[in-house]
């Protein structure tokens, strides 16, 4: 990617902004910021990561070590898009066992067949 070099041409570039009041300049600033942020936050709304999924399992009462192992195995099985917490909950409901037991069962290599989409 080429890097841009450019002299300080601020005096020309600022011309269109000159007429704006301070208030209007502030409004313009924040409107542009919203434009920068909108696609970023939309990506976050519709995507997840291993860290997010581990954080969900922590909140469900798993230790960091358990959460890490569970998420790794779900990722390897391409299941993470369903949500680590939802997967554990699915097994727990399927077997009628507490959520924590379901997670430990998965760690022991059991119940994965139930999670296949």
């Amino acid at each position: 990617m080429s890097r841009l070099e450019r002299p300080d041409d601020f005096e020309q570039r600022r011309a269109p902004l000159r007429a704006l009041s301070d208030e209007a300049l502030h409004a313009r600033f924040w409107e542009l910021v919203e434009g920068v942020v909108a696609p970023l936050i939309e990506e976050a709304r519709t995507h997840t990561t291993p860290s997010i999924e581990r954080s969900v399992l922590l909140r469900m009462g798993f230790s960091s070590i358990e959460a890490k192992a569970l998420v790794e195995q779900m990722h390897e099985r391409a299941l993470l898009g369903h949500g680590a917490g939802a997967l554990v909950l699915k097994l727990s409901r399927h077997r009628g066992i507490p959520v924590r037991e379901a997670g430990l069962a998965l760690l022991a290599g059991e119940g994965w067949e139930v999670l296949a989409p």
Partner: protein, 731 residues
């Protein structure tokens, strides 16, 4: 756990039963402002509630010992690598007014894909784990009880484990943190998709936990070639994090901008920094401001750094700052030493107290260069944002090197930080959520098929850890060698045995610092200074600061080295100094009683300086309390002193003895005592001797009531006289 001001913190007690310790409050705490606050002889305008225990500024004794506390939160950043040593540092800082304790993370934690557990030792900071957070929170809970003010505990939610760390912070009562995906992208080379997706989840968790968030924009100052030129971009970086945080559900009052005045003298600091500070506060009205002190232009001279930091703090008072952060004055030369944390905090609190009520005296000009420059910075920032969108958005702009370019935007030098959106730590780890994606927990951001229309998402699992903390899985230690218990073995054994070593950072480090002036050209002087330090038995002496006084006349050096010896407390001479009485108490007792005191330098001795220090009002001597002092001068025979005592009805005789050849000083003291007895005056008179070679022990052995050595103050002498005479009145 309860602390006693006369006892060191019990680290074993801190570590006991941690698996059951729960934080007693959550969320950020601001100081309670008290306006029109009457303290001593003054009415303060910008103060908060006083502390129950503190160490006042040194000049406070002249004003009745007052210790006013400013209305801003004061931050100190602590990072020795061992959290157990940091706890003692936190306590010292709290006594000096710090109520925002920021714990720096160990190098490399940003790239640790998951949580660290246990208490391993860090480098340049502490590995942040649940146990370390819990122990620190427990200690801070006890410290805040001791000082009488809530203390905010702060660390970092950056790197590739942000959401998990945010969960731990919310669970464990951490009150503030840094979270800014731009920091991950620009400075930690974390993949940008990963950084932003993680950040939304982390911010949502922090928001629900009431945790105050600081951004990372100040880093652009610290890394820029010419820090004042990066100001338009700083407005943009702040804005991106603010807008992103709000979109993730964080309220404005939990979002703080981390801002730093970019320059330092000899640059014309206020002329450059003040318009920027004004522009920032105008554009971001409604957000909080965390004002940091400048690090970009810090060198090894702690005085020079301190003056820059005073000017930074002045800018905070001229504009606004909800939090005033402090930088240790030694950060330019080493990992901060604990007493320099205290020095940094004192720089801010002393400056704020001196500037109290400034708003009523001074206004910033609303026309001229301040307004013009503030406006120009904002316009440059708007142009910066326009170019981001023209390039195709944030990711494309970073890829094109638009950020942290050393040009004064819109000038571009072509040296900005370039990151590839497809690369970096955690690249390829962002996963699209399926339509049935779910997370049965609270504080989750984004699409969630398990979020019910009513009630909480965690109802599906009978509550998450944020609602039911008893579900938290606590891990104690993973490594039996690299852990706090092992590290504490030697220092605690030494402490139990009554052994003491000097320290600056970690218990038992033995590090001391010397100041040495050598009258020679710099290179020769430096070699000589190091040689002198070796002769003082310092191991590994290193010059940590050098300053030329004159190219030929000499240079002054600060040298650190290790003094490898422990002092046995039981073998120390028993000469514990009594605490002097407060000024007001001395004066209240002395004035109504018309107490006369005669004084002189005795023998063949023309030295008068020492006695002046003790007597003269302009040197802070005892005259100021209302003593009638009769100074007979120098080379005075002891007979004349007693004559004068008789004539004036004096209650005390003060003799100064500087010359000690042939132990004449002992002879003078003994003769004064003997003669006073002969004349029948001894019971009425307090006989007090002073001088560089005088000790209390020696003086008493020579028949004196008291003896004072080098460094004695008038207040100490006055306290002794008052205490003794008061005792005699009672008898």
């Amino acid at each position: 756990m309860k602390l006693s001001p006369d006892q060191p913190i019990d680290l074993r007690e801190v570590l006991r039963d941690l698996e059951r310790y729960r934080p007693r409050r959550k969320g950020w705490h601001w100081r309670e402002k008290v306006s029109e606050h009457k303290l001593g002889p003054f009415v303060f305008k910008d103060t908060s509630r006083e502390l129950t225990h503190s160490v006042p500024l040194m000049a406070a004794h002249a004003f009745g010992g007052i210790d006013p506390q400013c209305d801003r939160t004061l931050t100190t950043e602590i990072a020795s690598g061992r959290f157990e040593d940091d706890l003692r540092r936190m306590r010292m800082a709290a006594w000096h007014g710090a109520d925002h304790i920021m714990v720096i993370r160990t190098t490399g934690q940003s790239h640790f894909d998951g949580l660290i557990e246990g208490t391993p030792e860090g480098v340049g900071g502490v590995p942040i784990s649940r146990k370390q957070i819990r122990a620190t929170r427990k200690a801070l809970d006890a410290i805040e009880d001791e000082v009488g003010r809530p203390i905010n505990f702060h660390s970092y939610v950056s790197g590739v484990a942000g959401p998990e760390i945010a969960v731990v912070f919310a669970e464990e009562g951490v009150n503030g943190c840094h979270q800014d995906p731009q920091y991950n992208v620009l400075y930690r080379d974390v993949n940008m998709h990963r950084a932003y997706v993680d950040a939304a989840e982390a911010k949502r968790i922090l928001a629900d936990g009431g945790i105050l968030q600081l951004d990372g924009a100040h880093n652009a100052n610290a890394t820029a070639k010419e820090a004042w030129k990066v100001t338009p971009e700083l407005l943009v970086q702040h804005a991106i994090n603010c807008a992103y945080s709000r979109a993730a559900g964080m309220p404005q009052d939990l979002i703080a901008l981390s801002t730093v005045p970019p320059t330092a003298p000899p640059a014309p600091k206020l002329r450059l920094d003040l318009p920027y500070a004004v522009a920032l506060r105008e554009l971001f009205r409604g957000y909080c401001f965390r004002a940091q002190q400048n690090t970009r232009y810090m060198e090894s001279d702690t005085r020079e750094a301190t003056i820059t930091h005073v000017l930074d703090t002045l800018i905070s008072r001229l504009t606004s700052a909800d939090i005033q952060s402090t930088i240790t004055p030694d950060e330019g030369r080493n990992i901060p030493w604990h007493y320099n944390n205290v020095a940094g905090v004192n720089t801010a609190r002393q400056t704020f107290m001196g500037l109290d009520g400034l708003d009523e005296l001074v206004d910033l000009k609303q026309e001229g260069v301040l307004r013009e420059d503030a406006r120009a910075i904002k316009e440059r920032a708007v142009l910066f944002l326009e170019e981001i969108l023209e390039s195709g958005g944030y990711y494309a702009a970073v890829a094109a090197g638009q950020f942290v370019d050393s040009g004064h935007y819109p000038e571009r030098k072509g040296d900005g930080i370039v990151r590839d959106p497809g690369k970096g730590d955690g690249a390829g780890s962002v996963i699209r959520r399926e339509p049935d994606y779910g997370a049965p927990v609270c504080s989750h951001f984004g699409h969630n098929a398990l979020a019910p229309a009513h009630g909480k998402a965690c109802d599906a699992i009978g509550g998450c850890t944020l609602c039911n903390p008893e579900k938290i899985r606590y891990i104690d230690e993973l490594d039996p060698e690299d852990c706090v218990d092992r590290r504490l073995e030697t220092p605690l054994a030494e402490r139990a045995a009554g052994l003491l070593r000097p320290e600056v950072e970690k218990q038992g480090d033995g590090v001391v610092c010397l100041t040495v002036f050598v009258p020679a050209a710099e290179a020769v002087a430096e070699a000589a200074a190091l040689e002198m330090a070796r002769h003082m038995n310092l191991k590994d002496p290193q010059v940590i600061s050098r300053r030329v006084m004159h190219p030929a006349e000499g240079s002054v050096f600060e040298i650190k080295g290790v003094l490898d010896m422990a002092v046995d407390i039981a073998r120390l001479p028993q000469e514990a100094r009594e605490t002097p009485l407060p000024d007001a108490e001395i004066e209240a007792w002395v004035r109504p009683r018309d107490i006369h005191v005669v004084a002189a330098t005795v023998g063949e001795d023309e030295h008068s300086v020492g006695l002046h220090e003790i007597l003269d009002i302009k040197h802070g001597g005892i005259e100021k309390y209302g003593f009638h002092c009769h100074d007979l001068g120098t080379s005075v025979p002891v007979e004349r002193l007693l004559d004068a005592a008789e004539e004036t009805g004096a209650r005390a005789v003060l003799v100064s003895t500087i010359v000690t050849h042939g132990e004449v000083h002992k002879g003078h003291m003994q003769r004064l005592d003997a003669l006073a007895r002969e004349r029948g005056m001894r019971d009425r008179l307090l006989l007090i001797a002073g001088g560089p070679q005088v000790t209390a022990e020696l003086a008493q052995a020579c028949g004196m009531d008291a003896g004072f050595g080098r460094g004695t103050t008038g207040r100490e002498v006055a306290s002794f006289i008052v205490r003794s005479l008061r005792q005699r009145e009672k008898e």
